[in-house]
């Protein structure tokens, strides 16, 4: 009998249990209950989010595959397709930072190559608590080396991403990993167990007891007692995954595979039921045939293990031998464990006994969807009120402080631990607004970026969602790329709380609105709820991964100034906005106000103007204005130039000086162009009705900003550079 405690252990409600009984026509046994528990978990079943995710636009001219598969697929011409998706591995990374992050990378890589694509890039969005706390440093160090350890060995370059710090992540860090793959358009594979009588093949690593109930764990809040959950975290073997990649791609190229799915969350359970449900078939497997690395495993353990580096493959019986040969060539197991049936049921045998017999449709498609109550939190109105801060007496000092803020400072400490050049395609290295990958033999190229601003989303979830999309697209525009597709990772607190649900709904609607405006489809993604420890939720953190297409890689501008004596042009307008800024947070310890206003129509025009100027070959440097405002953006252009070229900028806007320097008004891009081209860029902007003006010139060894005839910033580039460069490494210096 299934008692209340067993149900609670499986994170199922009594109502859900009753539904299971109705669906299968009897009481489930414990193994079957385990199966429903993981498949109906928030992580796999999307039960709180489904009704809202429908709001995303999912169609567009580039889309080959939208949401619902392992990853989204876009057609980029020349017979090629881009396959991409983002996933979270937040909970495991808190419990066991190295393995949690490593297997996060491993999981998303498999999602990509299971579709027939070779992973060509990884980007990560990481969020931790402040670095003055040793616990947060230890988590960050573990996460970064986990990503590095897995990705580097596998041989995929980690080309970009973002790292932010806020106290709300101290007990709930965020690790979101986005992978981009490249495939031949006519060689894509889906997770379908088609064709009754076809063989079901288990390939890859052996099954152990690791990771049992990982998905269920990711679907609950944490209390103080997280130590005992460590065995729920999987252990990664990037070497095995590399072999699995090569073997799978080879079997695919030789046309030996009907359908394939990786065993990620919920392992064998998820892959068997989903593949059968999607094809409208059933499946029969014998657990005695599953390669196991531990003795005495029960059906429950085998079915729910989340051991890594495993694949489930459906193949025609006459092709099994050749398929096995390929896997053996790569020193991997590949064994037939069952067959596809036509009765719509998953039947699992163990020691000659039928231990599971359930309809796959019930498990996969009939997971309840909840329209959970949503209520605007009481604090929202309170925090949106902001008194203007007092004008600081020393703006140079404030400028230096901002440059050294870990949210703004150089992230080289992180990305130089990642191999970001393997596969020899990385044309723009980490640190720029977006990463650029060349496509060998072609003029066109790919740009990619991850972006999200949790503080904005906390203050105003709808606008935060919009800005995340706008800013990601702006990052792409700075590389001359047009956005073609979106994946997103939605990190939120406990959806059973109406306040969290309100944040979620608002953010989704904001993202959907912006995506429609930019005409970019959402092709998939991931929802991570229950990001709370001890009842304290994280800030709502939607992270957007957007892929862009570049016509001509030779025209991509650099993120840093290229030469002295070039004109600096500002596209967009400066406004007096303080809300949600890093300036306010760092200098006045206030996380308040309304995030900067955003007009999607204006934003789109600014980006289009930037893109056209780049395509015309006029732009030498392009960088978007974001955290830290105009002053920080200019400084970053100086720091990223190989000779650290300074600048002199003169501004006359009638707004407060501190807002002009550090306010985070949207829809602004800095360009540096040859002097003779400045006029052409301004003309282009005027034609497109985009505000644009020459604000200064590159050159010298200083950063100088004038406001209405008065010099307000006067700092040696080298001084700012050292503050920016050394900030994060200084936290990790080995104390002697």
């Amino acid at each position: 009998m299934i008692d209340e405690k067993t149900l609670a252990d499986h994170n199922l409600t009594r109502e859900e249990y009753d539904l299971i009984v109705r669906l299968i026509g009897r009481e489930p046994n414990l193994t079957e209950l385990g199966i429903f528990s993981v498949m109906w978990s928030e992580h796999c079943g999307y039960k709180s989010s489904k009704v809202h995710l429908k709001k995303f636009p999912t169609k567009g001219k580039y889309v080959i595959q939208g949401p619902g598969e392992n990853a989204g697929v876009m057609d980029i011409g020349d017979g090629l397709a881009v396959v991409f998706k983002i996933e979270s591995h937040n909970h495991p990374s808190y419990i066991e930072p190295y393995q949690g992050a490593a297997t996060g990378v491993g999981g998303i890589l498999r999602d990509i190559f299971t579709m027939g694509a070779r992973p060509i890039a990884v980007l990560d969005s990481l969020r931790f608590g402040p670095l003055d706390n040793p616990k947060n440093r230890a988590i960050m160090e573990g996460v970064v080396s986990g990503i590095s350890g897995y990705g580097n060995s596998f041989g995929v370059p980690t080309v970009g991403g973002e790292v932010y710090f806020n106290d709300c992540y101290s007990q709930n860090p965020l690790v979101n990993v986005c992978c981009v793959g490249l495939a031949y358009r006519d060689r894509l594979f889906l997770a379908r167990a088609s064709g009754a009588g076809n063989a079901v093949i288990y390939a890859g690593a052996k099954t152990g007891r690791d990771g049992i109930h990982g998905a269920t764990m990711a679907s609950a809040e944490f209390g103080e007692d997280i130590e005992h959950k460590r065995p729920n975290v999987q252990v990664g073997d990037p070497f095995k995954e590399k072999l699995l990649l090569e073997a799978c791609l080879e079997a695919m190229a030789k046309n030996l595979i009907v359908g394939i799915q990786d065993m990620g969350a919920a392992g064998l359970t998820c892959s068997t039921t989903e593949m059968a449900a999607k094809a409208g078939t059933g499946m029969e497997i014998n657990l005695d045939l599953v390669p196991q690395r531990e003795e005495g495993m029960t059906p429950y353990e085998i079915m729910l293990s989340e051991s890594q580096e495993r694949m489930l493959i459906v193949a025609e019986p006459e092709k099994v031998e050749e398929l096995k040969k390929i896997f053996n060539k790569w020193d991997l197991d590949a064994v037939v464990i069952g067959r596809v049936t036509d009765d719509g049921r998953l039947k699992v045998y163990f020691h000659g006994e039928l231990v599971i017999d359930i309809p796959v449709k019930a498990v996969v498609d009939l997971c309840p969807a909840y329209r959970r109550p949503a209520r605007k939190p009481a604090f929202v109105n309170k925090i949106s009120r902001l008194r203007k801060p007092e004008m600081p007496s020393d703006l140079n000092q404030v400028f230096l402080q901002l440059l050294a803020s870990p949210n703004i400072a150089d992230k080289e400490w992180v990305f130089r631990q990642y191999d970001h050049m393997v596969q020899v395609n990385t044309a723009v290295l980490p640190g720029a607004d977006s990463a650029v990958l060349r496509l060998k033999g072609l003029k066109k190229a790919l740009a990619m970026t991850l972006d999200g601003n949790a503080l904005y989303t906390f203050l105003n979830p709808r606008r935060g969602g919009q800005i995340a999309v706008a800013e990601a697209c702006r990052n792409l525009a700075c590389a001359g790329a047009a956005p073609i597709g979106v994946t997103n990772c939605l990190n939120f607190g406990n959806p059973e709380k109406p306040e969290i649900m309100w944040q979620f709904r608002e953010a989704i609607e904001g993202i959907a609105e912006a995506c429609r405006q930019f005409e970019i489809p959402v092709t998939g993604g991931n929802v991570s709820f229950y990001n709370e420890t001890g009842g304290r939720p994280i800030y709502p953190t939607p992270v957007l991964g957007i892929i862009g297409l570049i016509d001509d890689i030779n025209k991509v501008p650099s993120a840093g100034f290229k030469a002295a004596g070039e004109s600096i042009i500002l596209l967009g307008e400066n406004r007096e906005e303080f809300g949600g800024s890093e300036y306010l947070r760092l200098i006045f310890s206030e996380e308040k106000g309304q995030p900067p206003a955003l007009s999607l129509a204006k934003e789109k025009k600014v980006q289009e103007c930037c893109r056209q100027a780049i395509r015309a070959g006029l732009v030498r440097t392009a960088h978007d204005v974001s955290e830290g405002g105009l002053a920080v953006a200019l400084a970053e252009c100086a720091f990223r130039s190989s000779r650290r070229i300074g600048f002199r900028v003169k501004l006359n806007d009638v707004i407060r000086t501190d807002a002009l320097l550090f306010g985070e008004t949207q829809s602004r891009i800095i360009l540096a162009v040859r002097k003779k081209d400045a006029r052409k860029v301004l003309n282009l902007a005027r034609k497109m009705k985009v505000p644009a003006k020459v604000i200064g010139e590159t050159g010298g060894k200083k950063m100088e900003i004038w406001h209405r005839g008065k010099k307000i910033i006067d700092l040696k580039v080298e001084l700012g550079y050292q503050a920016w460069k050394n900030s994060i490494p200084n936290y990790f210096k080995i104390k002697k």
Partner: protein, 255 residues
């Protein structure tokens, strides 16, 4: 000339190296599978970067036992040119084809970044196209690149001009800061006594195209080509085959 790039399980710069040799340098290039004994009559064997066999024991420690390495050893003994890049260098050390050993980087972190290296000896098969003192900008990507050798051995390497590259700053000065992984005597690459086996930690294949940020790596490949042409008394056909370059690698290896 004909180059062979060895593929171990876990090699991940195999195609990068193949691409640089075939598509950039215009040379005939083949993959050599680790389970094979056939070197396919290549003029130069390249051991590429990566994590051969996962590198779970010690970098390069397992690869030396593979069937293909038995042939590579014979090939080297007979005077054939062998180039080991990154993990390939580590494998050459583990195989005893080059002297010394690698320790973890001094900061105990994986390092992926551009470095500057100075050519110390331009009279070898691997550096002939450069000149002594020339500074090359080439990336590294490794965890274990901190070269170690006992004092007698270091002295011997110095005496015989076996040190081909040293980490330096952009002007060629041997500063402590430039020696990012902590290698003794700033060693980034060495050659054996006979001059036909070379190992280097930086990745020349990652610095062979302008679009990637540097073309300095081509000097190493060009040196090999020049040397072989002179030795064989014939010109390399060069870039005669202009097949379209595929954005995706081909299938690798045999049963």
């Amino acid at each position: 000339m004909k180059f062979g790039v060895v593929v171990f399980p876990g090699s991940n710069c195999d195609y990068d190296t193949f691409h640089a040799l075939q598509n950039v340098m215009g040379q005939e290039t083949v993959f050599l599978w680790h389970k094979d004994h056939d070197l396919q009559q290549v003029d130069c064997v390249v051991l590429p970067g990566g994590f051969s066999y996962g590198d779970y024991l010690r970098s390069g420690a397992i690869a030396r036992f593979s069937p293909i390495m038995q042939e590579v050893k014979k090939f080297a003994e007979d005077g054939g040119l062998v180039l080991g890049i990154c993990n390939g260098f580590q494998i050459l050390l583990e195989s005893g084809l080059l002297p010394g050993a690698m320790l973890r980087n001094k900061n105990l972190k994986f390092l992926c970044q551009y470095v500057n290296i100075r050519i110390e000896n331009d009279r070898t098969a691997f550096t002939g196209a450069g000149r002594k003192g020339q500074v090359l900008r080439i990336p590294i990507a490794h965890f274990d690149g901190n070269y170690y050798a006992p004092p007698e051995l270091l002295e011997e390497l110095e005496r015989n001009n076996q040190i081909l590259f040293r980490y330096c700053d952009e002007k060629g000065n041997l500063t402590g800061e430039a020696n990012v992984n902590g290698s003794l005597h700033h060693i980034a690459g060495i050659v054996n006594r006979k001059g036909n086996v070379m190992g280097m930690m930086p990745h020349p294949e990652r610095a062979s195209e302008k679009i990637l940020g540097s073309e300095d790596g081509k000097i190493i490949f060009q040196s090999i080509i020049n040397y072989l042409e002179k030795k064989k008394g014939k010109k390399s056909p060069g870039r005669t085959v202009s097949r379209p370059i595929s954005p995706l690698p081909p299938l690798i290896g045999t049963f």
